[in-house]
């Protein structure tokens, strides 16, 4: 694992350029942070532009027409840029009825939420702006803030159609957070961590290691996740908040120009984000179907070759995420829109129970159907053992592991965690079994792989 921008490399580059900085100089850190920020912002902005273009092209193909063909050459590459320029030059209209402050702020709230979530999204092994221990929930949480921009926009516009859009959005997003949260918990507890880099790295190897193939329940839960993700980013057939045939344009009816554009940047940003999250949680993240760079040994070689391997990983990740977005676009241009009560029914009557059943099923798979089988049921996944991904484990796990290895108490590692209650007097005296039972429950792959020893 390495950083996208290595401080030392940066300083060396600066040295070549004639600027001499000590390795820990503040300017270097600020520069690195700036480069990170610009790259991230660039990814979001370019992704939005790319997806606007892709949406038009894909929609065109689906609808038996060509889509944009003229701006910027044969394929209309620059259509999105032309749109942007047009939107920039449009008048920024604000209705007299609107609450001026909230009306102005709302698009930024949406966009900022969508962009902030990228802070915790790794693009390759270690290529993440901020290592956050609970990155999965951080992303979901920040994504959930996007709804606030929509609600404020709807309420502050002073239009009844916008208000309807806001009401629908708030009801929908609050409901869909429940199954979405349940779905992401499944890969999280299989891996025993919420750190996305660790989850991604655990799936190193062939495509059979992808968590979506872990067991039937993870396979099912991926589809539930994808459905809920589409709903939570407000894409058709769940785009109730902007339903153009019912609510004119819903929450952004009164917006024009750049402010309107921000809503769309946010929408496409979140689409890529949820697809990226799905990629890491279910589809091996930055690991391709064939571990070419692992075979070559580049990914642990260090230096330029490792950087190349990680770059390829980032490309891998982006390709998978873009495929996810393309599926969303495909769905949008195929299906009619659901009605608000049907959207809620889908969430409460189908998605939530399905996610719960999948959660229980995957739990059962890991524990040998709650103790009926001898151990975890068979799975094509050969997840990387805890030891090798130690860098991102909490230190207490490592310590516990080392201690357990030293005492050779691997036999007890598979003991279910529920029985390891610390209050039991007979357990309170002996620390080691309790520790290993704790690790066994947390890093369940650990115990399955014959564990710590």
């Amino acid at each position: 694992m390495a950083e996208l921008i290595n401080l030392q490399i940066l300083n060396r580059l600066l040295g070549w350029a004639g600027v001499d900085l000590p390795p820990s100089h503040l300017a270097g850190a600020v520069l690195a942070a700036l480069v990170h920020g610009v790259i991230l912002l660039g990814i979001v902005a370019v992704a939005a532009m790319f997806f606007i273009w892709a949406e038009r092209k894909v929609a065109g193909r689906i609808q038996d027409r060509l889509g944009p063909t003229r701006v910027g050459g044969r394929f209309g590459w620059l259509q999105a840029l032309a749109d942007g320029i047009k939107l920039l030059s449009k008048e920024d209209v604000r209705p007299r009825e609107a609450d001026a402050l909230l009306f102005r702020c709302a698009p930024y709230v949406s966009f900022a939420a969508s962009f902030t979530a990228y802070l915790a999204l790794p693009f390759s092994d270690g290529w993440v702006a901020q290592h956050i221990n609970s990155a999965v929930f951080f992303i979901l949480a920040v994504l959930g803030l996007e709804v606030f921009g929509v609600i404020l926009a709807g309420y502050a516009s002073g239009s009844k159609w916008s208000l309807f859009g806001a009401m629908r959005e708030s009801a929908q997003v609050v409901s869909y957070e429940v199954p979405l949260g349940l779905c992401v918990v499944v890969p999280v507890f299989i891996c025993g961590t919420m750190n996305l880099v660790t989850i991604g790295n655990m799936q190193t190897g062939w495509l059979t290691n992808w968590l979506v193939f872990h067991d039937p329940f993870t396979f099912a839960v991926f589809w539930v996740y994808f459905t809920c993700a589409i709903a939570s980013v407000n894409r058709a057939p769940f785009d109730l908040a902007e339903a153009e045939s019912e609510l004119v344009a819903g929450f952004h009816t009164e917006y024009s120009g750049m402010r309107w554009c921000y809503f769309f940047m946010a929408e496409y940003g979140s689409m890529l984000l949820v697809s990226g999250l799905a990629t890491i949680l279910f589809f091996g993240g930055w690991h391709g179907p064939v571990p070419v760079f692992d075979m070559l040994g580049w990914s642990s070689m260090g230096g330029v070759l490792q950087y190349v391997a990680e770059l390829a990983g980032a490309a891998n990740f982006l390709i998978k995420a873009v495929v996810g977005v393309t599926v969303m676009i495909w769905v949008r241009w195929t299906l009619p829109r659901l009605r608000i009560d049907q959207v809620m029914t889908t969430c409460l009557k189908y998605c939530t129970p399905l996610a719960a059943v999948c959660f229980l099923g995957a739990l059962g798979w890991q524990t040998g159907m709650f103790g009926l089988a001898a151990g975890p049921l068979w799975s094509p996944n050969q997840l990387m053992a805890v030891k090798q991904r130690g860098e991102y484990r909490e230190s207490w796990v490592l310590k516990a592991e080392a201690a357990a290895a030293a005492e050779g108490s691997a036999a007890q590692a598979g003991r279910p965690a529920a029985s390891g209650d610390r209050d039991e007097p007979d357990v309170s005296g002996e620390t080691e079994p309790a520790r290993s039972s704790a690790t066994g429950a947390v890093g369940s792959p650990l115990s399955r792989k014959g564990g710590v020893g």
């Binding site: 109730l240 195929t334 659901l338 049907q342």
Partner: protein
């Protein structure tokens, strides 16, 4: 049962919300033109929907009293602009009825050919825009792709793509061009498999069924009471089609054609075996049935066009020349209703012996079909309002005239 949520007069929610008055239209994307619906809603539930019309009023009837019968043809084009051929036909027939003027055999088949072809085009637009109303954009463009080819055919015979003014009192402005029939044949061959696609995209689509089945149910009695007609009436299970049951002057046009009226009998539509089955959720008279009737009528019209082409080829002679502008109309009155794509389109003509009619009145099908809005929209959700209005397939040009 007005909707699954029940009638607002019966259902009471603990959370009291203020009643809201919303104007849907006249600049709303899914009111099909400049219709304004004043919705009184409780949250998302519509308690009252009142259509306000007249935004497209152009005094079409009054203009008819100042122009010669043949000069009036372009104005009929602009009533139901999606089915201008059928409008032309209606006016031409009523003038001919007053004059007791029979068109030659070939002209008769030409008229059936054009009317049915335009019915296909009109139903395609209805289908596409209905998809649009439900948030599905793609069928709209598919429908327009096929409609373009019909418009190409029309353009070839009359030079216009929307307002044809082709069928005139006395006959038509011209005969078919060389090779036109072959092109039409090719189009029909290509249309048949495409309709299957539309059924996949919409009719049998699970989301589509959930959005339309059981929504906007119009009972047969109510449909008759409100004077609805066309697919709206037949969608409620009333077996009534003016091509079979209308004025002899009009039914004569179809006298030797073979077709079945598209209406559900004993739980089955004619020839519905080839098409998606009626879903279990659908109630006779709901939006889904209205849509389905239209889809089946496209197939019916394809067959009628084929028959008409065959008979047109066989018929000898010309297809009739337009009457002279100055052709005086005999003193008296005539009323004739024709089966336009949207229902029965009636023209009433009173003449005082001049070429210029003394009185012209129009009975519009969409107008009566729209009048059921407040009955079927009560108690449904806001999202259902476009779903119901779309299934009525109204054209404001015809309502406001």
């Amino acid at each position: 049962m007005a909707s699954h949520l029940g009638d607002p007069r019966v259902v009471e929610f603990d959370v009291r919300t203020d009643e809201m008055l919303i104007n849907m239209g006249p600049q709303h994307p899914s009111t099909h033109g400049v219709l304004r619906l004043a919705l009184r809603t409780d949250g998302e539930i519509v308690s009252e929907a009142t259509p306000h019309i007249g935004y497209l009023h152009r005094c079409a009837e009054k203009i008819g009293e100042n122009l010669s019968h043949r000069q009036y043809i372009p104005y009929t084009d602009r009533m139901d602009y999606l089915a201008a051929m059928n409008m032309n036909l209606g006016w031409a027939l009523v003038v001919e009825k007053l004059l007791k003027h029979e068109v030659p055999e070939r002209g008769r088949h030409l008229r059936v050919l054009m009317a049915e072809l335009n019915r296909i085009a009109s139903h395609l637009v209805a289908m596409g825009t209905y998809g649009l109303d439900l948030g599905s954009f793609t069928p709209f463009l598919y429908a327009f792709r096929e409609r373009e080819r019909i418009l190409d055919l029309f353009e070839e015979v009359c030079g216009a793509r929307l307002t044809y003014s082709y069928i005139t009192p006395g006959g038509a402005t011209g005969d078919l061009t060389e090779g036109w029939l072959e092109k039409c044949e090719a189009f029909l061959d290509q249309l048949a498999p495409v309709i299957e696609e539309y059924h996949t995209l919409l009719t049998s689509n699970a989301v589509f069924i959930r959005r339309t089945a059981g929504i906007g149910v119009l009972s047969a009695e109510m449909a008759i009471d409100y004077g609805t007609s066309g697919p709206v009436l037949r969608g409620s299970g009333v077996d009534y089609d003016l091509r079979r049951d209308g004025d002899p002057w009009y039914t004569g046009l179809y006298r030797d054609y073979k077709y079945e009226v598209i209406v559900q009998k004993d739980g089955h539509y004619p020839k519905d075996r080839d098409y998606p089955p009626v879903p279990a959720e659908a109630v006779l008279g709901d939006s889904w049935h209205r849509f389905y009737v239209r889809m089946l009528e496209v197939v019916q019209s394809v067959e009628l066009v084929r028959q008409a082409m065959e008979r047109y080829r066989a018929a000898k002679g010309d297809c009739g020349a337009p009457l002279k502008l100055t052709q005086r109309l005999p003193k008296g009155e005539a009323y004739l209703e024709t089966e336009a794509p949207r229902g029965q389109m009636g023209f009433f003509l009173v003449a005082d012996g001049n070429a210029i009619p003394w009185r012209v009145r129009v009975r519009s099908s969409s107008f009566c079909n729209l009048s059921i809005t407040h009955e079927v929209c009560r108690g449904c959700l806001i999202a259902d309002v476009p779903a119901v209005i779309g299934s009525l397939d109204i054209v404001m040009g015809e309502i406001d005239r």
